[in-house]
């Protein structure tokens, strides 16, 4: 009657609920957890989750435990009285695992950022996504955290979009943009440093060294503005255009210098051309005379007035003296800084409405260094300044150029006739607290493939075969069914210290569509809010700068499994109490000592009997 196949199935089923199976699972689970804590200690929380806690096999282990717990009870049906506690304990565990499963499947949590005076319903989750944005459309794809990411294909090539692969994942790191050698067809680029002209042990103080790089043709990297000087690079494909550009081109200043005095009150402005008018007295009428006492094109302000230092900066200035009835009013004016007026002497009222120095058109040019690349890839450098352009001259890596007008020099650190702006990743310790997660992403389409590093929270451009894409690696967001408006955020500190004692958000929470009544309340460190199945906690904050509005960070949690787990706890504790205080004893004593007729262990309390102490001699 017994079919061998059925027998095998039955025995397999019995084994599922056996103590042997239980031991195997208990030991396996304990070893897994120990491994998890060791991994966390060495490699950080995220790695431990990736390698152990969120893996399919760990989940499988837990499911097997639940199966074993259930079948163990089923195998012993119908239960005898002394087995009830064991069944209740097993049920409690099964419920707990079920609750955990519900939480992992349906529960989610995230952060809500709300600024004072504003409201938000956008929950920032902990899971992440990669957004690939093209000129017309964008695609978003989940970036899983529960599996090894290297070599994962996130998206197949579809209409208009390349395929997206993750080549590498770095738990904590930083991206740094730098110049690197490229391939034929790439534009030229160079890297430079700006140093004090007399070397690092210059006693003018610790001037910081500035480094930078340039990439021809790149709108963000072809020109760099260093405040006092602009540095740029330009590549030429046409030899003639190049020759034109490299030639010297002094600027003929169009116009002349002049001091202009405005008296207002219907008087026309008076112009004193320079340098012809230097030293001459001009009658302005009404007893007022003007005289340009000094004029300098590279003026430096000294104690007596201005002096011309021909090696110094281009800074045209003049000293104009206005005199009336023997009272002198001295104006020092600068053409580059028309708002900076120095007036000395004079009476109670100013003699003139305005005094200024006009410079010829083109004479206020900022200094610049232009790097030019000829069609064969040779590098040249050219200075630009107020007097126009010098002739370009060749320069190579290691070459040095003085910065016109300043006591600094630029050194070419590296030059690549074909260069690329590469994004490099710096890996940081995974169990530290610096850096962000990084992904190395590759896009592939008919034109080929290109790859780059993307940092969590940043957008990175990537060009592929003429099309340019924008990659963004970010936290996923999810709309909440209610809106939280922040009226006020407050931080309290322990008296006389910078340690926080409390922080609290005064909020108004209202449903987006039909729902419960809106709520006005305070969420603080020790006070949570339950609303529409969500629980809101005060998690952190960002203080507004310069007295601006603060931002509160609330942690929002939706966990349908928590109630199941709470129920499981109650069942489990009751079952354990029952187990400890009682009925299971007989079964265990019988199982442990089947041959013993009388149970040697007599745990029942016998207050009347004298204490039975076994002596050494007996």
């Amino acid at each position: 009657m017994t079919d061998p196949g059925q027998n095998l199935l039955l025995r397999a089923f019995r084994f599922l609920g056996s103590v042997q199976m239980a031991m195997i699972l208990i030991v396996a689970c304990a070893i897994a957890m120990i491994a998890g804590t060791l991994i966390e200690s060495d490699l950080g929380r995220e790695m431990a989750a990736l390698r152990v806690y969120h893996t399919p096999w760990f989940w499988g282990l837990q499911i097997m435990i639940a199966v074993n717990l259930a079948v163990a009870v089923i195998n012993r049906l119908p239960l005898k009285r002394h087995q009830y506690s064991f069944a209740v304990v097993h049920l409690g565990f099964i419920l707990m695992l079920a609750g955990g499963l519900i939480t992992s499947m349906f529960g989610y949590e995230g952060r809500l950022y709300v600024t004072e005076g504003q409201s938000s319903n956008e929950l920032v989750l902990n899971s992440r996504e990669l957004i690939v944005r093209g000129t017309e459309a964008q695609a978003a794809m989940d970036v899983p955290t529960g599996a090894a990411l290297a070599g994962t294909r996130l998206m197949e090539a579809t209409q208009g979009f390349p395929s997206v692969d993750v080549l590498e994942y770095v738990p904590l790191g930083r991206t740094v943009q730098s110049l690197e050698a490229g391939a034929a067809g790439d534009p030229p680029g160079l890297a430079y440093s700006i140093l004090p002209a007399h070397g690092p042990d210059d006693d003018h103080g610790h001037a910081p060294e500035v480094t930078g790089w340039l990439l021809a043709g790149d709108p963000a990297a072809a020109v760099r503005d260093h405040n006092v000087i602009e540095i740029g690079i330009e590549a030429f494909a046409d030899a003639e255009a190049f020759a034109d550009r490299t030639a010297a081109a002094p600027v003929a200043a169009d116009g002349e210098f002049a001091v202009v005095i405005e008296r207002g009150l219907g008087f026309p402005p008076v112009r004193i051309p320079l340098p012809e008018g230097l030293g001459r007295t001009t009658d302005l009428g009404g007893g007022l005379v003007a005289r340009v006492e000094s004029f300098a094109r590279h003026a430096m302000v000294g104690s007596g007035g201005i002096v011309d230092s021909p090696d110094g900066r281009w800074n045209p200035a003049a000293v104009v003296v206005l005199t009336r009835d023997g009272v002198e009013e001295r104006h020092t004016v600068f053409s580059l800084h028309p708002d900076f007026k120095v007036v000395k002497g004079g009476g109670d009222t100013p003699f003139a409405d305005a005094v200024r120095l006009e410079a010829p058109a083109g004479a206020g040019l900022r200094p610049a260094l232009r790097f030019l690349v000829d069609p064969t890839g040779e590098l040249y450098v050219q200075e630009e300044g107020p007097s126009g352009r010098n002739a370009a001259r060749p320069i190579a890596a290691g070459g040095r150029v003085a910065i016109p007008g300043y006591d600094y020099a630029l050194v070419v650190d590296a030059y690549h006739p074909h260069a690329r702006a590469g994004l490099r990743a710096i890996r940081l310790p995974a169990n530290g607290n610096e850096g962000s997660p990084l992904l190395r992403v590759r896009l592939t389409d008919e034109a080929g493939s290109a790859e780059t590093w993307v940092q969590l929270g940043r957008e990175t451009p990537l060009a592929l075969g003429g099309r340019s894409w924008l990659l963004k690696y970010a936290y996923k967001t999810r709309p909440l069914p209610f809106r939280v408006a922040l009226d006020d955020f407050r931080v309290e500190f322990h008296p006389g210290s910078r340690r926080e004692s409390e922080y609290a958000s005064t909020v108004k929470v209202s449903p987006l569509a039909d729902g419960p009544e809106p709520v006005d309340t305070v969420i603080s460190m020790n006070r949570t809010l339950d609303y529409m199945g969500f629980r809101l906690f005060q998690s952190s904050y960002i203080l507004g700068r310069n007295g601006g509005p603060d931002t509160t960070i609330l942690s929002v949690n939706h966990d349908p499994g928590a109630d199941v787990v709470y129920l499981a706890f109650a069942v489990l504790i009751l079952g354990l109490c029952w187990y400890v205080t009682g009925d299971g004893r007989k079964k265990r004593a019988a199982a442990a000592a089947p041959a013993a007729v009388t149970s040697a262990a007599e745990p029942a309390p016998q207050p009347a009997a004298p204490p039975q102490i076994e002596t050494v001699s007996s």
Binding site: V19, I26, F537, V565, I573, L576, Y579, V580, P605, E614
Partner: protein, 560 residues
């Protein structure tokens, strides 16, 4: 800034130090009734405490002596000496240095343990080593043991220096509630009309009385100053009864006394069987019970003083675990009445309390400190910690019974009745432990969910408590399946306790990860491995004797 302070310290005493050796040598301890000041309140370390506690903590930190006196001078007197007569007191050897290499590098006698402030403060070498250590610390590197000790010594010197300079004796209440309190020396020379001025005159009297060893004048000045301080504080001044309670807590040293009572009780119970069994049994249990009362009273007092359940650090949880061991042991002893629970509980209670009370202060901090704000206002935390500690107590008790089995096997192999009895006791204790551990884990999960919305986060401490739970589950199931019998159960109870120790102590000090971390590898691995080795030896030796007994037929394993 650090350099500057110490430099100032270097200059000040050296500049004003005449030949004080005569005065120092001639100082008579107890010449001045400092006990009059022991219940004055001071605001320090984030809470109000009596000067008695402050003085004791100072003595512990500086001299490494957890007692109330040093070289015949009371802690309170030492404190007043540093404050009121620094020239005399700072040249006495009070500052403890532990590391012998450091002593050698500083040119000090390695067989001495304590050195004067003045000698050490003048040592630029000490300063250099300490600064090197601080820099390494800030950069995230690990200082060498010599540097670490130098840093500790530097901190001790800082503390004394600040006291001597009149900066840190904050006994004068602030004008507004919640503001830091002032030191009387800070009020000398303060502008007219500043509140607290009336403190200056009696303070000066106190000072000269102390320096002149004039008991009557000191008593008079103290009698003036005490009430002034209380009046200045108004409602914010701690109640006299609270301060008195803490002074009594310090003086009674209940944990130390309970520990000794447990030892005596254990020894008495050990002798059971040499005649007068019933009497010795009752006496032994009675002594343990007396210790238990004192122990409990100490916990209650600490609870009242700290204003929260005393389970917030290593010291408090260890004390509580000791209490749990005795409590559970007494209950189970009443149930089974074999004397074994009394012995196991007594010995373990003694060990736990002795460790808490007498381990060096660098390892065990017994001062009462306020809780981090994030942990306040939740009773779930206290419930969780207490339940977990009770489970550790039960498992410790089981381990104790296991040891009794091992020793009996070593010295009296073949006592089958006892083996079976002990085995039953053991099994019951483990069951109790599993119940409390399961409940404790559940309470912890509830607390975590209520506080930040996540009932389980795989934090190493959480995970290790689950591992411990699984370990004991494995023991229970192995026993149920008949794979281990009586001896096996006893050996398992000893081995499984390792999991408890790792969860309690290892996660913080060895793993160095997670929310509970104190830093990897700071855990005194030598002691841990010695302990493991000793336990292993014991089990192996007992196993060998057990196997001998089985071979010669005196024990039948399936039954026993």
């Amino acid at each position: 800034m650090k350099h500057f302070l110490l430099l100032a310290a270097l200059l000040l005493p050296a500049a004003t130090l005449p030949a004080q050796d005569d005065a120092a040598a001639g100082y008579r301890p107890g010449a001045v009734p400092v006990e009059l000041t022991k219940d004055w309140a001071i605001l320090e370390g984030g809470r109000f405490k009596p000067l008695d506690s402050f003085a004791r903590e100072l003595l512990v930190q500086v001299s490494g002596r957890r007692s109330s006196e040093l070289d015949g001078i009371s802690a309170l007197e030492l404190m007043w000496g540093v404050v009121l007569d620094p020239d005399a007191f700072l040249s006495r050897p009070y500052v403890r240095i532990d590391n012998n290499d450091l002593k050698q590098q500083l040119g000090l006698n390695p067989s001495e343990r304590r050195f004067p402030f003045t000698t050490l403060a003048a040592s630029s070498e000490l300063n250099r080593i300490a600064m090197a250590g601080f820099q390494k610390d800030e950069a995230g590197d690990t200082p060498t043991p010599v540097e670490r000790d130098a840093m500790l010594v530097w901190n001790k010197l800082q503390r004394l220096d600040q006291l001597a300079a009149g900066k840190s004796l904050a006994i004068v209440p602030a004008t507004e509630a919640g503001q830091p309190w002032l030191s009387p020396a800070a009020l000398i020379g303060a502008p007219e009309g500043m509140p607290g001025q009336e403190v200056v005159a009696p303070w000066e009297k106190l000072k000269s009385a102390f320096q002149a060893a004039d008991a009557a004048a000191f008593a008079e000045a103290a009698g003036e100053l005490g009430p002034i301080l209380r009046r200045l504080g108004g409602d914010s001044y701690p109640a006299a009864s609270d301060l008195a309670l803490e002074v009594r807590y310090n003086e009674w040293d209940l944990f130390g006394k309970a520990s000794l009572l447990y030892l005596v009780g254990f020894l008495i119970l050990l002798t059971i069987g040499r005649g007068k069994e019933r009497l010795m049994y009752k006496v032994g249990l009675g002594v343990v019970g007396l210790g238990f009362l004192g122990h409990g009273a100490g916990i209650v007092m600490r609870w009242l003083i700290a204003g929260r359940a005393p389970v917030s650090d290593m010291f408090e949880s260890l004390v509580f675990m000791g209490w749990g061991v005795i409590a559970i042991g007494i209950v189970l002893e009443q149930v089974y009445r074999k004397g074994f629970f009394g012995m196991a509980a007594g010995s373990l209670g003694f060990i736990a309390l002795a460790a808490a009370r007498w381990l060096p202060p660098t390892v065990m901090d017994s001062s009462i400190r306020p809780l981090m704000p994030v942990l306040r206002n939740t009773s779930w935390l206290s419930i969780h910690v207490m339940t977990i500690m009770l489970s550790y107590s039960a498992f410790a008790l089981a381990m104790g019974i296991g040891h009794i089995v091992m020793f009996k096997q070593l010295f009296q192999p073949g006592r089958t009745n006892q083996l079976r009895t002990l085995s039953t006791l053991l099994y019951k204790t483990i069951q109790v432990g599993v119940l409390f551990l399961g409940a404790g884990i559940a309470f912890g999960a509830i607390w975590a969910n209520e506080s930040w919305g996540r009932y389980w986060g795989w934090d190493p401490k959480e995970t290790w408590s689950a591992i411990t739970f699984f370990v004991y589950l494995a023991v229970i199931h192995a026993r149920y399946a008949g794979w281990i019998h009586n001896f096996g159960l006893a050996a398992s109870s000893i081995a499984s306790f390792m999991a408890v120790l790792f969860t309690y102590y290892g996660v913080n000090y060895v793993l160095g990860a997670g929310l509970h971390a104190y830093g990897r590898g700071t855990g005194g691995q030598i002691y841990v491995f010695s302990y493991l080795g000793a336990e292993l030896l014991l089990v192996l030796a007992a196993l060998w004797r057990y196997n001998l007994a089985v071979k010669t037929g005196r024990i039948t394993p399936a039954v026993d």
